[in-house]
């Protein structure tokens, strides 16, 4: 039966492929109804599942005779003996098949329901020994479901055909590991627009829809799934007509992509000859290639957090160096801005070593954390400085809120330069140093900060969050979050003007830079460098090539006189639609 689920589109594109479910601890099976005529078959499926699960268990034991012989092994042997006894228990099996018959539900649903009932019964017992046995029941449930749901629920590492990955949620590590040749789409129950997994899906160019809430309850491994990363829709078991519609739609989308690709080599210049630099935001070295492919002029934001999140131990200086060197080699002569560690409010800085902070977003994170952990911070600085001789490398500090912080960071940077000098390790002592403007305090004192840096990069995501006091990840208030809010725009204008007066470079690197409807506004405010997610570079270039700065200035002027975010958004959308009707 076809199911249409709505979620949040986080990475554009269409894909139609078979679902591969990534297992998670606590999946639920949907109440998938069956027709009366299917009952016999489902009952047989139940019987087969019990039989095969039992055989699998026996084989599992037989393959490990040595383990089962020692003292501890006999306990394991006992456990498996019990599990096997359960799998051969006729009354248990009958409970499941009875449910299939009377309620007309799938084998999976019946298995899960019956076993969970039993587990719940155990959990209720006061005796701890008995209540813990619920875990055994869940194990048996999993074993049976594995038989029923098939092998497709497992391995992402050894794909041989195109799939859509379906999961409750995906970690950045998992997403980054996907092989683009086979993983054609991503759909998850949880997640949001700005989650790291979403950002990675976008960078890899894999269509993705998240926040589907209960998709995993409707999909079984092997089901055909359509992921519409443009509209944020996922369709499970689409009917013939829907498949045909999507194939059409997909073709149109690919054509649009090709047309956009064609402008890859063309310069990002407005119709009245004003040049705009388009850079890419990346998280790991492999994406540098994508920036190049999409026609980017360099990297405006190289997020380095991955090095800290991907492993269990802190990255060594060499780990940093190798990652950065790999990236620089792709770009030799074009600018790469490496941002120092910006972690906070996540497992790294909230690890067991510290007492967890009650309000981590406003706490010891990012540059503050670095300034109090100099050994770690210097490792990263050393690596960046060493790599600076390989290309046009610039360094950027995040979350700077005042001049003292900036001066402190610069001083440490100079200390590291001295160290390297003493060790006769070459580095670029004139390396450009910039900061992220992402807090109201930095925006309001930009004129002062501008004196001591070579460039600003405006992080509109966090700037918007802090200015509007809204958590962008909280669905309850997400409608309040908007970079087109008059307050945010005023701050933005202030920063741009201050940078201009101090004659330092400025770029915008938040999501705003990748949204076509805001480009005219940004250009009109005076922005000449944008750093955005690589897959969007061609489309943004298209917008730039279609406008005049005169029109952009007009847009900015009008917008700054408006006091409603809704009016502003509607206005900029209309203005953009006039320029590029097909992109909207």
């Amino acid at each position: 039966m076809m199911e249409i689920k709505k979620g949040i589109a986080v990475s554009p594109g269409i894909s139609i492929a078979k679902a591969l479910i990534i297992d998670s601890e606590d999946y639920r099976i949907p109440r998938r109804r069956i027709k009366p005529s299917q009952r016999m078959m489902e009952v047989q499926r139940v019987r087969n599942a019990f039989k095969n699960a039992g055989n699998e268990l026996i084989q599992f034991e037989a393959a490990r005779p040595e383990v089962l012989q020692d003292a501890k092994g006999s306990k394991i042997k006992d456990i498996f003996a019990v599990h096997l006894r359960y799998l051969r228990d006729r009354s248990l099996r009958k409970k499941v098949t009875d449910l299939v018959q009377t309620d007309q539900v799938t084998a999976e649903y019946a298995v899960s329901t019956v076993l969970r009932d039993i587990a719940a019964h155990f959990k209720k017992q006061k005796d701890a020994y008995i209540s813990e046995r619920a875990a055994d029941i869940y194990d048996i449930e999993r074993r049976l479901l594995k038989q029923l749901l098939g092998r497709k629920r497992e391995d992402v590492g050894h794909l041989t055909e195109e799939v859509v990955v379906v999961a409750r949620e995906l970690s950045p590590t998992q997403t980054a590991g996907f092989n683009r040749a086979f993983v054609k789409g991503i759909a998850s129950d949880a997640g949001g627009r700005t989650s790291h997994a979403a950002i990675i899906a976008r960078s890899l160019g894999i269509p993705a829809v998240v926040a589907l809430e209960d998709l995993t309850e409707y999909v079984l491994g092997g089901d055909t799934v359509i992921v519409d990363g443009n509209r944020g829709i996922v369709i499970v078991n689409p009917d013939e007509q829907t498949i045909r519609q999507y194939q059409e739609y997909s073709k149109e989308f690919i054509d649009l992509e090709h047309r956009l690709d064609a402008i890859r080599r063309k310069p990002a210049v407005t119709r009245d000859g004003v040049e705009v630099k388009l850079l890419g935001n990346i998280e790991f070295p492999d994406e540098a290639q994508v920036v190049l492919q999409k026609g980017g002029d360099g990297i405006g934001l190289y997020r380095t957090e991955f090095l800290y999140l991907n492993t269990d131990r802190e990255p060594t200086e060499q780990d940093h160096y190798e990652a950065y060197a790999k990236t620089v080699r792709v770009f030799h002569d074009r600018p790469i801005v490496i941002r120092t560690m910006d972690l906070g409010a996540d497992k790294y800085t909230q690890s067991k070593r510290f007492a967890p902070e009650p309000n981590p977003f406003l706490g010891l994170r990012s540059i503050r954390f670095c300034l109090q952990n100099l050994t770690m911070f210097k490792k990263q600085l050393r690596a960046i400085l060493r790599v600076s001789v390989l290309g046009d490398v610039k360094i950027m500090f995040p979350l700077i809120t005042n001049r003292q912080e900036l001066m402190q960071a610069k001083m440490i940077l100079h200390d590291v330069m001295e160290d390297l000098d003493e060790e006769s390790i070459p580095c670029n002592r004139d390396i450009d140093v910039g900061i992220m403007i992402e807090t109201p305090s930095a925006a309001l004192t930009a004129f002062s900060l501008a004196r001591d840096v070579d460039f600003f990069s405006v992080g509109t995501n966090d700037l918007t969050q802090y200015t509007l006091a809204v958590d962008r990840g909280n669905e309850l208030v997400s409608t309040l979050y908007s970079s087109a809010d008059p307050a945010v725009l005023r701050l933005l204008r202030t920063v741009i003007q201050d940078a201009h007066k101090a004659q330092i470079r400025l770029s915008v690197c938040g999501e705003m830079a990748s949204e076509p409807e805001y480009i005219m506004l940004l250009l009109g405010l005076g922005v000449r460098t944008l750093s955005l997610t690589p897959p969007m570079i061609p489309e943004i270039k298209q917008v730039i090539r279609s406008v005049t700065t005169k029109d952009c200035n007009e847009v900015a002027r009008k917008v700054l006189s408006m006091d409603s975010e809704r009016h502003i958004t509607r206005y900029v959308r209309n203005a953009a639609r006039k320029i590029l009707p097909e992109a909207f």
């Binding site: 006894r85 359960y86 009354s91 409970k95």
Partner: protein, 101 residues
């Protein structure tokens, strides 16, 4: 032990007390069911709330009988005697090879 003969089927009953400290958890339940399944007779186990099939691991574990619980065993079939005797030995004499109160 009470005995009755109905339609050629022996019915034997007994009341057994669970003596081991940890009660009828997984392992003893297994042993119980293993032994029960050796016999042809139908075996029913009851407590104050319910009656269950003594050959089903699922149903025996659901009893969740703790130390001191009193269980009524009923065996019905040609080997009812032997069945009840074997079970009595397991529960009350060997106490599942586990420590008792």
């Amino acid at each position: 032990m009470a005995e009755e003969e109905t339609l050629g089927n022996e019915v034997v009953e007994a009341e057994l007390e669970v003596r081991n400290v940890d009660g009828l958890h997984m392992r003893p339940a297994m042993q119980f069911v293993d032994i029960a399944n050796r016999f042809e007779s139908q075996i029913t186990v009851s407590n104050d709330q319910t009656s269950i099939d003594g050959k089903s691991i699922m149903q025996i574990s659901m009893l969740a009988a703790t130390c001191g619980a009193k269980l009524r065993i009923k065996a019905e079939g040609p080997d009812a005697h032997q069945a009840v005797e074997a079970l009595r030995e397991l529960v009350e004499e060997k106490h599942f090879d586990e420590p008792i109160q």
